[in-house]
Amino acid sequence: MPDWNLRDKACIVGVGSTDYGVFPETDAVGLGVEALRKAVDDAGITFDDIDGVILNRLPYDRFAEVANLQTPYLLPTEAHGRFSAIALMMAVEALATGRAKTIALVYGNDGRSAKMKYGGGAGFWAPWGFTSPGASHAMMFRRHMERFGTTSEDLAHIAVAFRDHATKNPAAVMQKPISVEDHQNSRFVCDPLHLLDYCLINDGGVAWIMTTAERAKDMKQKPVYVSGYARQDDFSQNSYPADDFWYPAMQKVASQIYDRAGVTRDDIDGLMIYDNFSPTVLFALEGMGFCKQGEGGAFVRDGMLQLGKGRWPTNTSGGHLSESYMQGWALIAEGVRQLRGGQVPANRQIPDAKALQFLLATPVSASIILRNEA
């Protein structure tokens, strides 16, 4: 691929995560540092080895002060979860150019303790009572329902599968199994979306350590290779619920990522899908070509995404819907643990997982393929 020479050039060699919940005794910086300490231990390195830092949702200067990281490379990113994917891509590129050799990527969020509200603030549509990312996704999903005949019950199968996974994950905030009926009977937050279509705002931190494939070979953990990634933005409907479910942008990503990673869709053993709201899972699956556009609802029925049942176990940690809304960061950490093997409870392990794919359907459409062998 003349346009792509980054296949398997960088690896994730350490991951760390805090508990998820309500921790008013600390803050986002404290949670980020705690996660980073765990990632550093996990990677078998020291803080002195870190010569690059990429942060998400953290005040960069205060974080660098408190974590005592004085490096030649520091990049803060904005609070949106889409920056989980972007941060990883930036790290690969910084490693490939030699800009840094060992990069700490850190996410910290104290949104729950800080009583962060998604909705109700100022905004162009506030005079009409329209607010919150959830309402925007509800508006998009209604279009999907009208155009393709998708139903709320289709979404229930996504929520049920992820909850089943969460019951196998001690770190997950939600541990009680749910049924399709439970989903359907949960209260509306914004019709057509029910409470169980929404992610879980919590405090927590996640960190990854990334380095070059060369260096990764001799390190403590089995390296997880970034085999390929692709990204296409479409902000043309930034002020509106997108009327196209970001499908064209996702299709562009789909047309590039498999060639770049040197694998096909059939090689993918499981998925990590950015699930801020359950409809996003459908948009991502359709956009990435796992099913035809409009067939996402039928695709996820009968446990397609469920461990032990479906072809593509998805969000085996419980995801944002049932583990915690760590904005993509904990999904990548879960993918790394799955690919190492033996680092999650046996009943949560994707058998013989070799390649996992991260999918992100937002105004930044993106995907990443991770593998445990180059």
């Binding site: 909705g119 005079p127 009572g129 919150s132 019709d191």
Partner: protein, 135 residues
């Protein structure tokens, strides 16, 4: 009666939109080079990235492209109205607006329903464009 719903946060770009609403006119910016409308109000046309645009009147007619029903109390002023619908209107000129429906009567809210603008005087300063089923 005091109006308790959120009022528009008028800025230098959206000001003329709300000024026109006060005169019961629905307007949007129109790109001079392409003739295409754009919204929400912006400093330049996204089609040409320049300032060659003008405010132009919209027909106020369109159809419901999507809708939701808000159950969560996000705004005090809407608290008594939950659950309340918010509609996404696609105007004949291609501009999309999020708004509320009035005078629905016993009709069922439906995607595809033809609607037309009505103007609701919220305060002496602000008039809010809303929509009703088209005659």
């Amino acid at each position: 009666m005091t109006y308790t719903k959120p009022l528009p946060e008028e800025d230098k770009w959206s000001g003329p939109f709300f000024e026109a609403a006060r005169d019961n006119r629905l307007v949007a910016q129109r790109c001079s080079a392409t003739g295409r409308f754009f919204f929400p109000p912006a400093p330049v046309s996204p089609y040409t990235r320049d300032k060659n645009w003008s405010w132009d009147q919209l027909s106020g007619k369109g159809k419901i492209a999507s809708y939701v029903v808000m159950y969560q109390k996000y705004f005090a002023g809407f608290g008594d109205e939950v659950p309340y619908p918010v509609i996404e209107v696609e105007l004949d000129e291609g501009v999309r607006l999020l708004s509320n429906i009035v005078d629905l009567g016993d009709q069922e809210l439906k995607v595809g329903m033809p609607v037309e603008v009505v103007f609701h005087k919220a305060t002496d300063e602000f008039t809010i464009p809303l929509f009703r089923p088209a005659a």
